[in-house]
Symmetry: C3
């Protein structure tokens, strides 16, 4: 690590953060306010409802918090030397992204009479946008600096808002859990960016890209936190209580069958039948990604099936597809977001199309039909039309996100933004004052070997 | 570890899991559905209530999730070399058990017109059943394979459902927190099984059955998660809001006094006054087990007393009873479930009998009597009768569970099910692809000693 | 560690705990009961409301639990050799303090007709009192015994109750999040005590007062748990739903801008631009402390500003103020509570005075004014009067707490209470049966150096 570069990090990161934070404060002071008292105090009926609606989402809001900050943070801390890089940089990017998304979404959706009325809902909305930046960053975990990730978030959030609007308001997609708008979008955005940031040297592997038993365990704990609260994530945007109830139950079922399947597949693909921690940390969540798009529409058996298929595909993706893509199209994907968000997302979308085409409308009459109940009664609605719209939304999202990812990757490569040297990839020491602990992870195997009498592997 | 055996693990675990998961999917597709729309949409009053009832338990449902997957998983990760075995195998068995319990309970309780109507409640119900399998597995932690534990769960869940029905519907036990139906049942089932799986070599201790400071700290964190959400566990089945309120407060009080007592007793039994982590990890929860059966019935002072007594007994159990039973009746109990679930469960049941006999009915008149308020007004109810039924339910449960445990243990010993060699007990390497970390736990003290100039103990 | 002293620990800790627990049980049996059934069953309207009110706080109650037991416990486990000392002793003192506070507050506030009616609310109230003891203990973390900390809590809780009453009922402070009554009080109480317990030898640093990468990561995880649930803490005492809504949103905003600012400032003050874990673990929470006093009153932009300023001050405090005070006034503050609770608390209080003076009453008329909406319409209320009362409450609290801290420190120094030798500071081995793990933290760098061929620092 050269002194020049660390000096530039010291300049860039604080300056960038303070400028952005200053700008956010200015924008909030100028344009954001709580609702004017008279708008909700004069008419007591409205008050009660409005107040209740917003506070009612508070528990789900906290669940999403646990997922973003504790769950995802821990899950990303799986690398031996990059634990702080996982949890702390996630903490930073999440906070930047949420504030930035509140600004962008505020002006895009809620700007009236030169004011933006802020309620708890806006933060939740912003957190869904922030998720996309955090997922995309997973593709380049440990080989990009926080400065580059701030840039990533600054560009991805506005594009997400536009694509989210397209998918929901233009294509009227049925997608309660954001499988297309969040998972597919962030995955292909991240992969596009990652391809531009291709590092030839990583093809032979990187000596620091390993885990420890402790980092793997904490990462699995992060996965389990995500797993526990995924039903909240997939159900928070439900249109009514019955849809929410179905979304919760179906998400749980998909996660549960996915987890069992992950254990089975992971054991099956290892020649000694052992389970891979990387598989567990990721594929046990694939069911939640895949079922998101149809969680309020399908039957319990369908949810179990989708979870099973998604986790199977995810495990096989880690085992076979990722190495294949790395070799063939030079796609480097540190966290395997393609296996966890891309493949299960596509499977889920295809599943939703099948469900929409097969769901027997005539059984109950249109007003009791689960899909139409969610949509509201539209006379012109047809299964086939909806199926086409689901497919179109998927295609458009992949196109938009790949394009955005490529542009973002090009900008992130600009030499003016601090980026780490290859030997400092996956290493906290560049960004954090790490403790000098004897049992720590910063003693390389090579260094230690010099002090041992027998080869380390024999120990 | 011989190649033959690992080959058999590779065959057995995935095949077993995929067959079971396939069967669950088939059964769910054939027999499980959400409630028909017309049953809740036609009558708007019913809708509201039904929907609310189910979503109202969602927060408690999440609490139980945290307990099962994060709390119990971490708590079981206390062994030096068996961290993944604690948290990940718990994750697997929990998921298998919940799906399996949904099937068994579905057919046992909810099967009408060839359909089972699924609601969130069913999953919660299934999670209570799953808990029993997870507790019982604690008795043989680290010396049974996941294949054997799947068998354990497959057999224990149906027996739990039958015993639970007996205890609640036949004996009309007052037991809001499942002290008898869950804790006593799972404890004696596990102990019965453990006795059959007796390993003479373990009597001298096992070199891998140790902890590290980090594994002990994570295990204590798991305990604390269980501790935090135990009031939810004990109050989720309350009949009305007042009973639920009392159950929450009393469970908290019992846990709190139990924790203080654990510190005191643990310090007292050590000759240098130091506190044992094993005591903390377990005995601080004993109050929650013991108070479960009477959490909605007793006074705050009673709750404090029960917690204090239960944790005292639990600490003394770890210190004196477990070594005694290990020597005398060859009872090996890796997690000490007898001290945490058995002894406090019996104490709690005796406590509930005392409370039922002493509760002064005449004070308020029968309609305001806490117990009768919970039961509904039954003319024929007598304190003495209820006390006998509590005792009978305890006795029957111990008998049924011990019997079931013996049978299960015999089946688990069949050579066709994969079981680990003694030298691979308490070792993740048999089941997981563990990272080769230098600071890791897989360097044995013995091996390391060879490379050091002074005895390790002197360092 | 001499045998004499450990013997005295063995005597003192269990005896003290058992005596207190016995006394609590006796007091609870004599004076505490749930509300008499007739008081809530006879009038059905009252029932519903009362019952709902209490169970409605249950989710917030659990959030505070997670903060106290998991969040704060983990956060305090940052020391290399004192992980159990962080999480387990916090667990003990929290439990003691809650029970003790229930007794003190019960007699102070709720004692009627020789009875104290217990509801969930009382426990929550007691937990707020307990927080003060836990924060104060942070100033002397690792250099006081549990016996001394029990004494600390025994003395601090009653003084907190009195000061809390003064601040709220006498000065009518507007302080929804307890910035003055909790944070300022506990900080200056702890600092006063710490000054009396001044250890000259610590001025040169202590070889055991270091962290490991793992302990730092777990501590950061604790911070993140506190961060996630801080909005619950600051909003639980809100007078109405709109105030609660504002408090939640504003607390989140202050935490978020504070976190971004912490990253910026921490990088800025390091000559290589690296971020300090100690800064992250603390300063990212400073916004929550500072915004507490005005969380229900200010605008979103104001919340962002306060969070930014508070975290900036907190980071600079750790970097410059703490070393300065340690040298000049011999103030030893192990956890930096002055930077996290004192300085941000004062900033927040000044901020609240500014807000109260500037808030334009005339805009909406007094009945719609946020502050008056919270207070209820008081004819005699003036901005200036309230501002003076805020300032007076701050001054009185600092005085009372410093005085209480000095007295408590003097009593804690009495030789009859067990206190550790200096060489045993920050070391679990004195209080816990620590595992003998090879990778453990109990191998000192010095010892290890003897077995290595090159200087450890060069590795």
């Amino acid at each position: 690590m050269s002194i020049v570069f660390s000096a530039s990090l010291r300049c860039q990161l604080p300056v960038l953060l303070l400028i952005f934070q200053g700008a956010f404060i200015a924008i909030f002071i100028l344009f954001f306010s709580f609702e004017e008292p008279f708008s909700y105090l004069n008419t007591s009926n409205v008050t009660a409802t409005a107040g209740e609606d917003d506070l009612d989402i508070f528990p789900l809001f906290k669940d999403v918090h646990i997922m973003l900050f504790a769950g995802l943070g821990l899950m990303l801390s799986f690398l031996r030397l990059y634990g702080f890089g996982g949890i702390a940089i996630n903490f930073l990017i999440a906070n930047f992204s949420i504030q930035w998304a509140m600004v962008v979404q505020g002006f895009f959706y809620h700007f009236k009479h030169w004011m933006i009325h802020l309620r708890l809902n806006n933060i939740l909305e912003a957190e869904f946008a922030a998720v996309t930046a955090l997922i995309s960053a997973g593709a380049v975990l440990g080989r990009t600096s926080p400065v580059q990730l701030i840039l990533l978030s600054a560009l991805e959030i506005p594009l997400f808002v536009v694509n989210d609007w397209l998918v929901n308001k233009y294509f009227h997609i049925l997608d309660i859990g954001g499988t297309v708008a969040i998972h597919i979008f962030s995955c292909y955005f991240g992969l596009g960016m990652s391809q531009i940031l291709y590092q030839p040297s990583l093809q032979r592997g990187h000596k620091k890209e390993t885990t420890t038993s402790n980092s793997d365990l904490l990462s699995l704990l992060g996965t389990i936190f995500l797993w526990i609260f995924w039903p909240s994530f997939n159900s928070v945007l439900a249109k009514n209580r019955e849809a929410q109830h179905r979304a919760i139950v179906n998400t749980f079922l998909a996660l549960s069958s996915g987890t069992m399947t992950t254990f089975a597949m992971s054991s099956l693909v290892d020649k000694r039948g052992r389970i891979s921690l990387a598989h567990l940390q990721n594929a046990s969540l694939a069911g939640g990604v895949a079922v998101g798009i149809s969680a309020d529409l399908i039957s319990p058996g369908g949810a179990l099936s989708i979870g099973c298929i998604a986790s199977m595909a995810c495990t096989l993706g880690f085992q076979y597809l990722s190495p294949f893509l790395a070799k063939k199209i030079k796609l480097q994907d540190q966290c395997g977001i393609h296996n966890l968000h891309g493949v299960p997302g596509i499977i889920g979308t295809i599943g939703s199309i099948v469900v929409i085409l097969l769901e027997p409308i005539d059984t109950y009459g249109s007003s009791l039909h689960p899909i139409l109940g969610v949509l509201g009664n539209t006379e012109t609605w047809t299964s086939k039309g909806q199926a086409l719209q689901q497919a179109a939304a998927l295609g458009v999202t992949i196109g938009v996100s790949l394009f955005g990812g490529y542009i973002t990757g090009l900008l992130m490569r600009l030499p003016c933004f601090f980026h780490p040297f290859r030997e400092d990839f996956f290493d906290d020491q560049l960004y954090f004052q790490v403790p000098e602990d004897i049992e720590n992870k910063w003693i390389s195997n090579e260094k230690l070997q010099e002090h041992l009498l027998v080869p380390l592997k024999q120990i």
